[in-house]
């Protein structure tokens, strides 16, 4: 135990900074991917057959390939066409592109969970389509998708570790740097895991709160 104490004293600052980066990137990427996923889903629902096919192709491409490819393409490839963005932004964009695809699928699953009768009932009440969407579909959609969205947020948090490949010093990179320097087998990763668990606890708490507050049953 004493050695972990010593570790903490020596490297706590570095870990806290790294945790800060992880959290910042995760939060911004998640909010952006919510917007992007919602936009994709909306396009899929209402913009015609071709839009639906296009969104489908996009979702399939990004879900079924490793996210390292977009990360590399944006970070190393964009400078070749003149766009030299900071590493965190490049990584964040790649994460948004991929998680937007996952979130679109989550909304699709939640939409299917809504009974057809709800849509028919809305029509019979004479509601305009967008009104029906706003008052009937959307609330149910959100309620059904909150657990899956919470799950996705946790996965996004852990995906930020891939940004270590493009120089972002987040928790996993910090652990790797320490492992490289000191030859410790588990301690750096255990410390990083402690930070990840705390962040995940925050996300889970937020998800439960959100679910309880919108659930009407």
């Amino acid at each position: 135990m004493g050695q972990y104490r010593a570790w903490l004293d020596a490297y706590a600052q570095a870990y806290l900074a790294a945790a800060g980066w992880t959290l910042a990137i995760a939060v911004l990427a998640f909010l952006s991917s919510l917007l992007w996923g919602a936009l994709l889903f909306f396009l899929r629902l209402s913009a015609g057959v071709w839009a639906e096919r296009l969104v489908d192709v996009y979702v399939q491409l990004l879900r079924n390939t490793p996210v390292l490819l977009p990360i590399y393409l944006i970070y190393f490839g964009f400078p070749l066409i003149g766009l030299l963005w900071p590493a965190a932004i490049c990584g964040g964009m790649a994460l948004v592109l991929q998680n937007g695809a996952y979130i679109c699928e989550i909304f699709r699953g939640a939409y299917k969970a809504i009974d057809r009768v709800q849509h028919d009932a809305a029509k019979s009440l004479g509601l305009m389509p967008w009104m029906a969407f706003r008052k009937v579909t959307l609330p149910q959609l959100l309620v059904h998708s909150i657990p899956a969205l919470g799950n996705q947020a946790v996965l996004l948090l852990k995906d930020t570790s891939l940004l270590s490949a493009i120089t972002v010093v987040e928790l996993t990179m910090q652990a790797k740097v320490l492992t490289e320097r000191t030859g410790a087998a588990y301690a750096p990763f255990l410390l990083a895991a402690a930070f990840y668990l705390s962040l995940v606890a925050l996300i889970e708490f937020g998800t439960r709160l959100a679910h309880r507050s919108v659930q009407w049953r």
């Binding site: 490949a165 010093v169 990179m173 740097v177 000191t182 087998a185």
Partner: protein
Amino acid sequence: MNQVWQKIFACPPRPPTSLAIGLLLLASVLLTSVLPAAAQERSRLDEVLQRGSLIVVTLGTVPPFAFKDDKGELVGFDIDVARLAANALFRDPGKIEFVIVTSDGRWPAIESGRADMGVGGTTVYPDRAVRVAFTRAFIDSGISIMVAKSAGIKSLQDLNQEKYTVANLNNPQMADRAAAAFPKAKIITFDTPSGEFLAVKSGRAHALQIDTPTADYFAATSATEFEVLPTLLTASQNNAIYLKPGDFKWWLWLDTFVSELRTGSLYPKYVEIYQKWFKKDPPPQKFYLPLAR
């Protein structure tokens, strides 16, 4: 109900004091007779000899030390050194098993006893030596700077300007050397050489730090548009065999093996593999002997 609780939590009757003392004495006699035997643990060397093969943990992504060729076979200078060790133990370079991990997986493999020893471009640092035992170096690695031929950087002094960015590996000595040699340049850190090369190719960095043998390897094969600056950041960075600390007998054999490899009876074999991978002669066997042979 109360009586039931009382029965459960009632203390059992105390044994006679003399019996307790007698048992304690017996236990201490037994322990002290067993412990010295336990302290003479078997060395890893005995285990290896009994097993009849050597288990070596290594990386597969550090050319030319240890990497996979285009058939997927593990090859490299460090791999050949490990085979020479197996040969020295068993007269058969094939009695060896390689456990290929990523760089973070090296230390758990050694500490848990999964592997007997490790190779693979691993450098000796005092920080590491607290937890991992190293033999003496079997090769001086050195750190070089590679720049794109088109960049027009000719020396370390050229590099020490704020407009330049240098790509490093997450390797403590590179960070320290960079701070000493070109403090004004910006540093970005990758965890693989391919990341560094891509950084320079894409324009995010202007130069990269890399192990000298690796630099020479890439300059000849995949990175022909790069050149290696003549000034080395350091000429000697000890790459060695690593093992679990605390086992003197095993460390002594491995260290003796490396010593014989560089300066003793195995020197001719050392020359052979050195020339195979680095296309030049190794340092002479002894400083007072004129040539590499």
